[in-house]
């Protein structure tokens, strides 16, 4: 028998008191063990959606249900199955790693006998044994985030919600964090829903939801989203004067983005851009071609880049 969906959001909207619509009619379905990314820029509604799912905001419109139980019902039992990692650190900085974990294990009602065992397991998985007795205000950003995630998994939640978990982490630490989460996901069939503005973080997920100004632009697997690109390749040119290239691109009717002394051209087959190379190779300081990414899907769908300024879009 097929297991019921773990999380269902149907036509969810949220309006803050300032009357701006922070979330406009968004929906998604999450299966047990799946990983979904909410990808969007600042103000896209990612955090608002996560606040609703973490039970912090309840006056939303639409339907949300978790494991067959509506979010309107017993919130306390719902919270027992949710692990939440906020964008803002939430550990007590005057307490040690171990003291923090013990405190939260009690709050989530873990039996005394189980607390020790569970903490030992998480300390092992997240490689925190050398830091168990250190006050958390002495930990580095990466370690702090590891403790934070371990804390949110103490009670074996079915769903882990994370708001921008990679904020402030360098790429190596970020990779390490995801490797720990992958272990937990496999061991405990953990489902993960997180917000991010980093494409490389989102593209490893089962599903991605693209958000822009509170609206859900697209939803699907990374492959499904990439298939939406009619021009799946891009060529990158760099030169002192881009005008001759953009003039030719205009006459050829190709789509491009100009950014200072560089131009990105989108194409389907290489033959489309070969005339450019024939005419301008001598003036180019750099040239490369790449498969387009989810970032391009976002760009094509919204007309805006994720954290990147552009001068001209055709």
């Amino acid at each position: 028998m097929k297991e019921p969906l773990l999380l269902i959001c149907k036509n969810v909207s949220y309006r803050y008191s300032s009357n701006n619509l922070a979330l406009d009619n968004v929906s998604l379905e999450l299966e047990r063990g799946q990983k979904i990314a909410l990808l969007g820029d600042n103000g896209s509604g990612k955090s608002t959606w996560l606040k609703i799912l973490s039970t912090m905001l309840v006056d939303y419109q639409g339907q949300v249900s978790f494991h067959g139980q509506s979010y309107d019902q017993n919130l306390s039992s719902l919270r027992k199955n949710l692990g939440i990692v906020f964008q803002k650190p939430s550990l007590d900085r005057k307490l040690t790693t171990l003291e923090n974990l013990q405190c939260f294990a009690t709050l989530f009602g873990l039996p005394k006998a189980e607390i020790k065992q569970r903490i030992e397991h998480l300390i092992k998985v997240f490689e925190l044994s050398d830091h168990a007795h250190r006050q958390t205000d002495q930990l580095s950003g990466g370690l702090f985030r590891r403790v934070e995630i371990a804390k949110s998994l103490l009670h074996r939640p079915m769903l882990l919600l994370m708001d921008e978990p990679s904020t402030g982490l360098d790429p190596n630490i970020r990779k390490q964090m995801w490797s720990y989460l992958d272990i937990m996901q496999k061991q405990e069939q953990l489902s993960i829903l997180f917000s991010t503005h980093l494409v490389d973080e989102a593209q490893h997920c089962d599903q991605i939801t693209l958000l822009h100004k509170g609206r859900q632009i697209l939803h699907g697997s990374p492959e499904q989203l990439l298939q939406r690109l009619s021009l799946p390749w891009k060529a990158y040119f760099q030169m002192d004067s881009v005008k001759p290239v953009t003039d030719q691109l205009d006459s050829m009717g190709l789509t491009y983005v100009r950014n200072g002394k560089s131009v990105e051209v989108f194409y389907k087959t290489f033959s489309q851009i070969s005339p450019l190379l024939e005419n301008h190779t001598h003036s180019m300081s750099h040239f490369e071609t790449k498969r387009r990414t989810i970032e391009d899907v976002y760009f094509e769908s919204t007309g805006e880049a994720l954290f990147r300024g552009t001068e001209q879009v055709r």
Binding site: S76, R79, S90, L91, Q102, L107, F108
Partner: protein, 250 residues
């Protein structure tokens, strides 16, 4: 629920003892206040020919105890603002613990700190011969516990409403400190202006002070101060619970 409350209180205690300056300041301030104010104003009271003229230190003792408890309760509640700023509170709010647990742990921790700070002075008062026996001494201790619960509950709401520690200090200056001033801790309310008496009668700390004076053997007005105080503490705890219920999705 009890293990969650004790765990949160334990956490507050660990935070407290790891801030050495906080521990020292809370012990030294009231002692200095008691000695300076009690000794300094003795002459003023004497010149008025007040019945409290003799033994001002003894008369100021209940007021000093009130101040220790008031300040300890109120200052401890600043941790609520810190918890919110540091994000710890957010994690507690999305945990399955009940609103009662959250209020009781905060109020309980503040009461514990307040009583820990008041206890040395309580012991000192035995050697100074301020009590006629163990019963008034113990009764006064219970009164102080009630004061602490009351002030911690009120501070809980004010701390929640405050956007910053600075704003909470403003509440202290405009509401909490005047509550102590017109409790009778600084001057006998019965001999003050009518509007001050009117304000004192709606001030729960006035009844706490009256109860403490009575247990210490001073003559006080004839009303059930302990009962009024007890009811006030209950109402304030209830108010903080209702406040949290409104603020937290449950």
């Amino acid at each position: 629920m009890t293990s969650a409350i004790s765990s949160l209180i334990q956490r507050e205690f660990l935070r407290f003892i790891r801030q050495k300056g906080r521990v020292i300041a809370t012990m030294v301030t009231p002692l200095g206040f008691w000695l300076f104010l009690g000794s300094g104003i003795a002459r003023s009271f004497g010149s008025l020919g007040n019945k409290f003229a003799t033994g001002s230190l003894e008369f100021f003792f209940p007021g000093m105890l009130l101040m220790v408890v008031l300040f300890a309760s109120v200052f401890s509640m600043i941790s609520l603002i810190e918890d919110r700023d540091e994000g710890f509170l957010q994690s507690v709010l999305v945990s399955p613990v009940s609103n009662v647990t959250i209020v009781m742990s905060k109020v309980g921790a503040c009461t514990l700190f307040a009583m820990l700070q008041a206890f040395p002075f309580f012991l000192l008062s035995i050697f100074l011969g301020y009590w006629s026996g163990p019963w008034p001494w113990l009764s006064s201790f219970v009164v102080l516990i009630l004061v602490s619960i009351l002030m911690a509950s009120l501070s809980f709401v004010l701390a929640w409403l405050s956007q910053s520690v600075g704003e909470f200090h403003s509440w202290m200056n405009t509401l909490l400190f005047p509550m102590w001033m017109i409790s009778g801790a600084l001057f006998p309310v019965s001999e003050s202006l009518g509007w001050i008496r009117a304000l004192a009668y709606v001030n729960p700390l006035f009844y706490a002070h009256q109860a403490l004076l009575r247990f210490q053997g001073f003559e006080t007005a004839d009303f059930p101060a302990e009962v009024i105080l007890c009811l006030s503490a209950f109402v304030f705890v209830l108010l903080s619970l209702l406040f949290l219920k409104r603020k937290r999705a449950s």
